[in-house]
Structures are given as structure tokens and as C-alpha cells.
């Protein structure tokens, strides 16, 4: 059985990633290029998040990994086992007990506290990419704070759909300076980004890291007459009756019957343990 260095990466790589993280924290929202390593999972499977987690983990940490809010999907399970094996850190599904939380496309419903680190997996770090394909040009736009084009996209949405149609990866302006892609979290989660925990964003394929120190002001872009709304499905959770958590829509049988349940499995389970029951769950605890 081969021994791994703590958390798989060699110390020099971790140092390089930590430098990038520090730079990112010093300039909130600025995309810091880093030398993304070949990881034992392909690009597109969370290598950026894994590298950032590997660089910040210490033996005393407790790790939680979620994928679309759930601890028990394949990707979350794989990554959690990867770190159990290479770092031997304690793992948990309970948000409040974790010190490092790696997430794909959701922010936990449970309020994040000081001392926690939230690591996001990011596919495309550049918010302007779909409007301006040239990297040379987007870098200049960020450097010169030329973000008119971002509002053009929102304008086009309103003129075509009557409202801003972006439902996830909704662009934000951080610390009143950089426009950032918060990763494909639903826009419902955007207000949560003003939090007490440190937020780190890793894009492995695109080789960028960016970061937000605690309590950084995060403003979702909008128009004065079309303000940002953090919207979700207009239902309570079918299992725990939560009114204000982000919901997944689940088809339950071949007839097409559907159920809305909390996307954050830990949050939902926690509420059920406390005795909350939704309409689909009246018979008793699962």
C-alpha cells in the first residue's frame, strides 16, 4: 500500500496554491492564475476544488463534501473518500461540525460561521467569457473595470424575456471592484455570499483561483428598475416543511408525480430530527 503525502499534493505544490490563495484573498474577486496539477480525476470533476482543499487542509480539520447540496451523490462520496484516504482527516455530513466544506454548485442553508472555509468547484471562472471570447480583452476589462458589457447581457435578457433570465452563476460585484462568477450556484444562494466564513474558488481546467475574505460585500448585478430577486420554487419542502430553503424537484413515479425536497440534505435531515415534517413525510421518520 503506497503512502500518500498528506492530502495527495506535494508540499511545494501546496505552497504554490497557498500563495495564489493569499493573493486572491488580498484582491477579492480577482482571478489568480495557478499551475493546476494533474489530479487522479479528470478535468470537469472538481479538480480545482480538490486542489484548493488539499492545500488548506490540516490534520485537525473536519471535512464535508457536497454535490448540489447532497452528501450522498457519487461525486461527493468519491471526493470525501479521496481525502479520507490521502489525508486521514475526520469527515462529517453535518455542516455545523465541518471546518472545511467543499461544494459543487450550492451554498449550505445552515449559516456559515467564522473559522469555516467554503471551497467552491468552478467550471468557467470568467463571467464575461460568453460575451467576449478573447482572454486578452477580458483581462483588460477587469483591469480597467470596464463592465458595461455585463450589463448589456442583463439588458438583452430583459428585452428578450421581460426579466433577467439568468438563474444560476449570476454575476456579482465584490468589494465594489471586481465582477465575479460565483460558480453555478443558483441565484437564490447569492445573498448568502456575504458570510463570516472564508470562500475559496478553484477552477482546475481553467487554472484560476479566486477568493473572498469574510464579510466581503457582494452585490448581484441588476438594474435600478429590475432589481435582483433571490427566487426559488414556490413550495415548501415535502420532507421537512422548510419554507425558505432551495428545493430540488423529484419525480417520484412513472405517472409523473413530483415532490419538492430540500437540495441541502444535511439541512433537511437536521430539521426532520428536530421533528419538522413535510406533507410527503407525515407517516414518520425515514
Amino acid at each position: 500500500m503506497t503512502d500518500y503525502n498528506f492530502a495527495y499534493l506535494d508540499e511545494q505544490t501546496k505552497r504554490m496554491i497557498r500563495r495564489a490563495i493569499l493573493k486572491g484573498l488580498a484582491i477579492p474577486g480577482y482571478q489568480v492564475p495557478f499551475a493546476s496539477r494533474e489530479m487522479p480525476m479528470p478535468y470537469g470533476w472538481g479538480t480545482g476544488g480538490v486542489q484548493v482543499s488539499a492545500a488548506v487542509l490540516t490534520p485537525e480539520d473536519t471535512l464535508k463534501v457536497i454535490d448540489q447540496g447532497a452528501d450522498d451523490t457519487t461525486n461527493a462520496v468519491s471526493i470525501r473518500r479521496f481525502f479520507e484516504r490521502t489525508a486521514q482527516v475526520a469527515v462529517t455530513t453535518v455542516t455545523a461540525e465541518a471546518t472545511v466544506i467543499q461544494t459543487r454548485h450550492r451554498i449550505p442553508e445552515e449559516q456559515m460561521r467564522e473559522g469555516q472555509i467554503l471551497v467552491y468547484q468552478v467550471p468557467i471562472p470568467e463571467p464575461l467569457r460568453f460575451l467576449e471570447p478573447r482572454e486578452t480583452e477580458t483581462r483588460k476589462m477587469h483591469a480597467l473595470e470596464e463592465y458595461g458589457l455585463m450589463h448589456v447581457k442583463l439588458y438583452e435578457d430583459i428585452s428578450r424575456h421581460g426579466h433577467i433570465a439568468t438563474a444560476y452563476a449570476y454575476p456579482v460585484k465584490v468589494a465594489d471592484r471586481y465582477v465575479m462568477d460565483p460558480s453555478p450556484i443558483p441565484k437564490f444562494d447569492n445573498p448568502k455570499m456575504d458570510m463570516a466564513a472564508i470562500q475559496l474558488f478553484g477552477a482546475g481546467r481553467e487554472q484560476r483561483i479566486y477568493a473572498l475574505p469574510p464579510h466581503t460585500p457582494v452585490v448581484s448585478l441588476d438594474f435600478e428598475d429590475y432589481p435582483f430577486t433571490a427566487s426559488k420554487a414556490d413550495h415548501p419542502c415535502g420532507l421537512c416543511d422548510a419554507q425558505d430553503s432551495y428545493l430540488d424537484e423529484v419525480i417520484v413515479d412513472d405517472a409523473g408525480a413530483r415532490m419538492f425536497v430540500c437540495s441541502d440534505t444535511d439541512y433537511c435531515t437536521g430539521r426532520q430530527v428536530e421533528g419538522y415534517r413535510g406533507t410527503n413525510n407525515k407517516e414518520g421518520a425515514a
Binding site: 483588460k140 448589456v152 439588458y155 438583452e156 428585452s159 438594474f223 435600478e224
Partner: protein
């Protein structure tokens, strides 16, 4: 009166080939300067050097900025120059697709400059865009259409609206009517004349078409092989040309 634009000793060479040599002139508010010459005369090189698209080898392009008085734009930092080109300057390209975002609606194209300088009210932006489309004679119901669905003349007019929406004081135009049908040209020239007069614009227009220059420009510079061979009031240069090349040019124009 301070000139709006002062060009001094502007020179650009490509190896041994002269792009433009030692060009100098002053432009005052409300004046339209035409630059004519045949292909290879250096007129486009000169325009691009003035507008900051090309770096000249030597010379100064001094613009009377709103905040800081006359400043040499060639020594400005890039952010300052880019800001200038979005607010006080405008550039109308020969081909509308170089001056427009073809994947964005007409309203978005006109509104982009407004949003780039901080406009954040959708209703106001849209109203301003529609107002400008009306001024360039594009129907308001085309505001949400992409420029790919417009005719050449409409695309050119949209380009003008996009450029003028922030009220620039200086407009650079590179063959603005090139490639358009004659009737469309006439309409565009009308429009440009009206806008120049109503907005008190100054303009530098590069063209090879003497008829366009006679209609649009107060003053004229004739270029040949990178050198300015004659300059003066447009009607004077065209009616009483002094230089041999100008005389040749004027006598070559076909009469309708």
C-alpha cells in the same frame, strides 16, 4: 480659442515605406476636416494614428479634454485613452460590423456605451436608445432586432447612433459611406450634416470620394504617398486647386 485637436509632426513608417509623414493641423469645435487621397495615400494610417488605433513613430495628438485641458493623447495611459474613446471620441468604421456587436440587439448596441459609463436604469437606457434610433431614422420596433437583420445603410446608421449616444465632441469617420448605394449615401450624408450641426460636433472624415467631402467637410487635406500636398477650405481646394496632384484629382471626377 483653444483648438479641440492639434496634430503635430505625426509620422508613421512601415520600414522604408512611409505611412504618413509629418502631418500637422488644428481643428476647432464645430469644424469638419476631410482627408482625401487615393489608395495608399496614407489617409487611413493617419486616421488610425490620430484615433489611437495605431502607434505613430513620432508626433503629438493634443486633445482639449473636458477636465484637464489640452493633453497629448499619445502619452495618456491606456485606461484614460479607452475612457476617452467611450465618451468624448467616436469612431465610425467603414464596415459596420467592425463598429457594432452583431450578436447584441440594436438597443443593446446603442445602450452599451451608456452602461459602460454607469447607466443603471433599464427603462431610461431603452428610452434613450429608441430616441437615438429615431434620430438616425431606424424604426423603434427594430430596437430588439440584431444588426445582422439590418441592411447595410441601417447598420451604418446604427453605428452612428451607437457612437453619438454619449455626446462625443470629436468623431473620426473612415469612409462612412463606402460600399453603400447612392441613395442610401445621400440619406446618410444628410443625417451626418444635421447631427454635426445640431450637436456642434467636430469631425475628421477620411474618404476617397470628393463629392462626399464637398458636402460634409469645411476644410480639406489632400494626401499623396503619405504626404499632405494641399490643405485649405474645401470649396477652395476643389475649385482652385494649387498642387498638381489636386488638380489631377479634381479634373478626374466624373460629372453626372
Amino acid at each position: 480659442m483653444t483648438p479641440l485637436l492639434q496634430i503635430k509632426g505625426l509620422t508613421k513608417t512601415y520600414g522604408r515605406h512611409i505611412g504618413c509623414a509629418d502631418v500637422a493641423f488644428e481643428l476647432f469645435p464645430g469644424e469638419v476636416m476631410g482627408i482625401v487621397g487615393e489608395s495608399g495615400s496614407g489617409k487611413s494610417t493617419l486616421l488610425n494614428c490620430m484615433a489611437g488605433h495605431l502607434a505613430p513613430d513620432s508626433g503629438q495628438v493634443i486633445f482639449d479634454t473636458r477636465g484637464a485641458g489640452p493633453r497629448d493623447t499619445l502619452t495618456m495611459s491606456e485606461p484614460e485613452r479607452r475612457m476617452l474613446s467611450r465618451t468624448d471620441w467616436a469612431f465610425v468604421h467603414q464596415h459596420a460590423r467592425d463598429g457594432l456587436r452583431m450578436g447584441v440587439s440594436a438597443g443593446g448596441n446603442v445602450g452599451e456605451r451608456l452602461m459602460a459609463v454607469g447607466a443603471r436604469h433599464y427603462g431610461d437606457i431603452r428610452a434613450t436608445a429608441i430616441d437615438w434610433l429615431d434620430r438616425v431614422e431606424i424604426r423603434a420596433d427594430r430596437v430588439d432586432d440584431r444588426p445582422t437583420t439590418f441592411s447595410g445603410g441601417m447598420q451604418q446608421r446604427l453605428q452612428i447612433a451607437r457612437n453619438l449616444v454619449t455626446g462625443p465632441r470629436l468623431v473620426f469617420m473612415d469612409e462612412p459611406t463606402g460600399g453603400l448605394d447612392v441613395s442610401v449615401q445621400a440619406r446618410l450624408l444628410d443625417l451626418l450634416r444635421g447631427l454635426v450641426r445640431d450637436m456642434g460636433l467636430s469631425a475628421v472624415i477620411v474618404t476617397h470620394d470628393l463629392a462626399v467631402v464637398r458636402l460634409l467637410a469645411d476644410r480639406l487635406m489632400v494626401m499623396k504617398d503619405g504626404n499632405v500636398v494641399e490643405t485649405g477650405l474645401t470649396d477652395q481646394v476643389l475649385d482652385d486647386p494649387q498642387h498638381g496632384y489636386t488638380q489631377l484629382l479634381v479634373s478626374s471626377v466624373l460629372q453626372v
